[in-house]
Amino acid sequence: MPVDVDAAVISNTRLSDDYSVLALAAPAIATHALPGQFVMLKTSRGRDPLLRRPFSIFQILRHDDGSPRGVTVFNKRIGKGTSLLYDVEAGARLECLGPLGRPFDPVDPPVLAWMVAGGVGLAPFVTLAEALIARGTAVTLFYGARRAADLHCAPIFERLGVSIAVSTEDGSRGTPGLITAPLSTALSAIPASQPLRLYVCGPTPMMRAVAGVAASHGRPCDVSLEQVMGCGLGGCYSCVVPARDAGGVPHHTRSCIDGPVFDATRIVWEALVH
């Protein structure tokens, strides 16, 4: 059951001119959050913007004694709401509703977990990596961005013991080009007898491409879709995506309560608006 917390901003760490990590005091949300779930944040106290914005829970914050303290979100300045969040200072308060949505299903050993992130799509993978590592599952992160300056927070994953492969579109770090290239190479090098699951979050064309790569290698693949949301609770039907039901028939399906995590084979990619 989601709770609405009038959360104090603990800190807002600017990583670049676009990216920040916003830490919010919200123990009631941190206590119940599962990997891949999200919160709905009100980015202003007033009525412009009117609606909340969905954000993946980036990290669970804990006190020294291990008790839940709050959550962070990984924010990229794109529009009005994300710009307001980028500018927020410690001590401000933001209404934060969560945890929401269908979480990732972390695999157990001997299954390998490969996380594929594009840009701000890194957001759901810290909590997933922690859950996977806690189960003893080996985790690899394929992390693509436009340029080296947009690659953030890799040390968080290194500290957790996650192997990291990086690509940049301008070639300024890692493999030049899209993340699908090193991913395909790595998948080809793994024997079919080694079970493996892909977890993907990023821009829609990137997720579609990775879903295609996963399918061509016969690997299961979960995607975390990001859509415009009105409420986050299933009330408004704004955030629908074309997804197949159990019988294979596509329907407009709410990404807030039936997702944001979907089996990639359910998504009718050619019909998904981005």
Partner: protein, 312 residues
Amino acid sequence: MDLSVAIGSLRIPNPLIAASGCFGYGVEYADSVDLSSLGGVAVKGLFLAPREGHVPPRIVETPSGMLNAIGLQGIGVHRFIDEKLPELRERKATVFVNICGTTIDEYVELARILSDADGVHAIELNISCPNIKEGGITFGCSLPGTHNVVSAVRRATRLPVIPKLTPNVTDVASFARAAEEAGADAISLVNTFLAMAIDVETRRPKLTNIVGGLSGPAIRPIAVRMVYECRQAVKLPIIGMGGIATAEDVLEFMIAGATAVQVGTASFVDPFIWTKLLDGIRAYMRRHRIETLSDLTGTLDTTARHKAWISS
């Protein structure tokens, strides 16, 4: 203190109803909100058959408001009765079923089917959705059309019949009169205002459907005025809505003439708004020594206006 109000023969515990199209089928909120504590739940508009609705993007924000063009996506009346109504009944929700048709026969059939279902308390006739061409808006924008569909449904059911009026007409009060003459038990208003928003960089509409319905605090003063006009025109109970976000907004609609209200967009922003609204209403009643909330309806005082001091 008595917060209950009567919509025709239906008495509800308080005047706060979750607005159709803004609260799913109610069951989505069953774990977060005590559905029995609401005045009612107006479920998402239902056709006879399931519908997929419009291609996203379906919403866009505007100052103090939002446009939507969902396109009445829905599971159809039969799946609603089989899959959603049992839980609503179990949760003791007062259920207003919003129905949409393309012909009078479809409205009548929907009303008959719902009259036989256990747990439906009232029927709200959607003759006002601005986002679909083939639906009830053609009835809602014509006085004879409104009269004919309301009277046909009136004959088909014993449930309270509540046509939901569109504000996209010149004189909404005349539609209230048409509904009253046709035997409606109450009216609800307003549905959303037909509107649009454009991305000037791409020169594309921000909604796939090009146009959508404006809701939220931006429309509230117009909705209050329309409720007031209808109050002058008809004796029917009025369920007022349009941008309600605070207890003060609820009271404003009631003073203008509403017996009950619906809350939609504001519950997107705050799904727990209901207890806050009720607390605010109770505080007002204590402050004004009002024992029975329904006494507030239609109590607008226009006598204290300043008189013109210059003769024209």
